[in-house]
Symmetry: C2
Subunit: 261 residues, 2 copies
């Protein structure tokens, strides 16, 4: 089944989804940004897309509208959108409940959540990206499921609580790990050493972790119960109490996690 799709928003999520939809044989009919120049620029990349700076889509042929805007704007913009009869409206956020669309002028509300981070100009293979679907009714769920499966092999139903859980898990696995890289980089650069030195070790550690599971891949002084090294490291961080505290808190949790086994 080929859908006609309206895209509200012109950010990275909007662009990469639109690209994947068009590649899968769907048609992008409308592109909205309140700044018409941004909408027109975006529309250049899609065969049949009409740029607009108005949220009135009464005359559009689209059956599905993708509201891909910042989390804070979803509940604000949704009620302003004028939709064709029976059209589906979804947002794409992992951290916003479906209920944020509550005041939208359609009952066919849902969520279409790709579990990936997107960068401008960097191509993405959607086939392995999980897509979480939630819908207010069965007709909407079937349409979203069909649309999602046309671009990804990993589609599953996820309610708003599932998405909240995934978002929290992703904060640990992505946002926090990235900040630990920043801390690591700072420790090295204080001694004029380059963060690049650690790149092969970081990549191999990640590969091993994903291959055998992180709990089987854990190494290091806390796992070994090497209290002398833990103490030396903690002392070495004494000039930065916040980072020393992170060191202490994670090490303590590693010790407790593996001693409970």
């Amino acid at each position: 089944m080929s859908y006609q799709i309206g895209i509200i928003g012109t950010g990275n999520v909007a662009w990469h989804l639109a690209r994947a939809f068009e590649n899968a044989g769907h048609v992008i009919t409308d592109i909205y940004n309140r700044d018409i120049r941004k909408a027109k620029h975006f529309a250049l990349d899609f065969f049949n897309a009409k740029a607009t700076s108005k949220l009135n889509f009464n005359d559009s042929n689209a059956q599905i509208f993708i509201l891909a805007v910042s989390d804070d704007s979803i509940a604000e913009i949704a009620p302003e959108i004028l939709l064709p009869k029976n059209a589906i409206l979804v947002h794409t956020s992992g951290s916003v409940a479906m209920a944020a669309l509550g005041y939208a002028r359609t009952e066919n509300q849902g969520v279409f959540y790709p579990l990936q981070t997107f960068s401008k100009g960097k191509a993405v293979d959607f086939s392995e990206i999980p897509i979480g679907i939630e819908a207010e009714n069965k007709m909407t769920e079937n349409a979203l499921n069909s649309l999602a499966k046309s671009i990804s092999n990993k589609v599953q139903l996820m309610d708003s609580r599932d998405r909240r859980t995934i978002h929290l898990a992703a904060v640990f696995a992505c946002n926090f790990t990235n900040h630990l890289f920043t801390i690591s980089k700072g420790i090295l650069e204080n001694r004029n050493l380059n963060f690049d030195l650690l790149e092969p070790l970081i990549v191999e550690t990640l590969n091993k972790s994903l291959e055998i599971g992180p709990n089987n891949a854990q190494t290091g002084p806390a796992k070994r119960g090497d209290f002398e090294t833990l103490d030396n490291h903690f002392q070495a961080l004494s000039n930065n109490p916040e980072i020393a505290e992170i060191y202490r808190a994670i090490s303590q949790n590693i010790i407790d996690y593996y001693s409970e086994e």
Copy 2:
């Protein structure tokens, strides 16, 4: 220059280094383990290697001996090794000072530290693995430098303090990030969600971080100053105070790091 090399120890570091040396045209002459069966098993993989369970290498032709044993055993084993005249003895540890070899029966002491984690049976391309070199004298340094450059394009001098700094940085970038994956997995599995869901996001986050630098790649509620989400997450973790504390400590550091910019 082709070296003849003795390997003391039969673990993963020993095996992968020996493999890389032989591939680069050096000759592995001796393999030591106090358990002769382990030494013989290891020696099967190398053309000219003689297995031994004795630390007397007086009759060996090797010029360089690699002491690749656990950190704790280095200072204990080193003085027991009988070496041919002028032979070089190095350890391979990132977290042990060169001085741990102090009582070895040669003045030609050093460190040959590959910045990678090795798994049994998993081939490794050494060319991109950084190798840190330290030596007690210039002759030793030159030989180690020449040996290291025969297997890696990323050889640099690193004193014991550099290695300690790198080890601490690696605890943050590797050990701790791996534990955050374990925490993330636990959060998902509590709600019957699979950790695999996050794999594409984790891989892409890492790629972006290494490409543009972690401080440029940071995202998430703490970076955005989204205190409502931070508070919700902290509440959601209230049944596990240690993990809540990790959440708080890292989030606080992200907030402070980016507000100081």
